[in-house]
Symmetry: C3
Subunit: 113 residues, 3 copies
């Protein structure tokens, strides 16, 4: 395997109140999202909108950002798994394209001789 080859994957970032961190990481574990990085103690200001009453962060509440990288086919199950959390609590989720050099870290078995 050439370690310098980059493989396209999806990065998911979730920002939630610290008390919901375990909900997210347990979901990721269950989905075999095999690794994640957590940035603690971030601040957030609300995402106002139609759902203002339910979904807004209180200003400057302590939040965590949880980042994971997964193959594209895992994005939809993870979104579905987060839905119960986001239907009742503040939180945002972003999905972005990212490339990784070691695909086997992220839930895809590389072809090997």
């Amino acid at each position: 395997m050439n370690e310098l080859t980059l493989h396209p994957m999806k990065e998911i970032r979730v920002v939630v109140a610290g008390e919901h961190r375990v909900f997210v990481t347990e979901l990721l574990d269950k989905m075999n999202a095999t690794g994640y990085t957590i940035i603690g103690n971030v601040a957030g200001k609300g995402h106002h909108g139609l759902h203002e009453a339910h979904f807004m962060f209180s200003e400057q509440e302590s939040l965590v950002m949880i980042m994971t990288v997964v193959p594209e086919e895992k994005v939809e199950p993870i979104l579905a798994g987060l839905r119960p959390l986001f239907s009742r609590h503040s939180g945002v989720m972003f999905v972005a394209d990212v490339a990784v050099s070691r695909r086997d870290y992220f839930g895809k078995t590389p072809a090997r001789p």
Copy 2:
């Protein structure tokens, strides 16, 4: 609305000295960038270049990273609004593609029946 549909948006990340955090968040508020996440106490090493004297971070100065997600049409006004800050102070700004599941959080009114 299908909450699992992903909508393309733009993510803006700004890294500035902590003292300029309010300049950025007030700009985002004014632009109706309806939410942002702030990672405090990050370290940065300078972006040397033609403007070295003016724009370089002093090594390891305490900085903040401010992240927001906006519809594409807000990127240019936000860049323009940051220009007075960046013309006198250290700072960098990145724009990236990102997808979100709840577009109404980020300044776009979703079509609703």
Copy 3:
């Protein structure tokens, strides 16, 4: 130069144990990756896989995320430079597309009249 023009670049994020931060930043300095942002004290859970014994983070070990933005041609040399670190220690690296407004900060000399 129009400061509002966005130029495509590559963002590299590296997550490693705190003790390897200097290895990465010295590499970036050597590669003339002229700036970087460091988020300290992040937590990570392992990237299990074929290399489990060697490459897994111990759960919740204190890590750093080092972010830099470079022209595309620097991605491969930086990956190659990280290889000795990743062959012996835990760590992950992501590459993503990003746009910047001031290309001269990131190792590309802008055309100037």
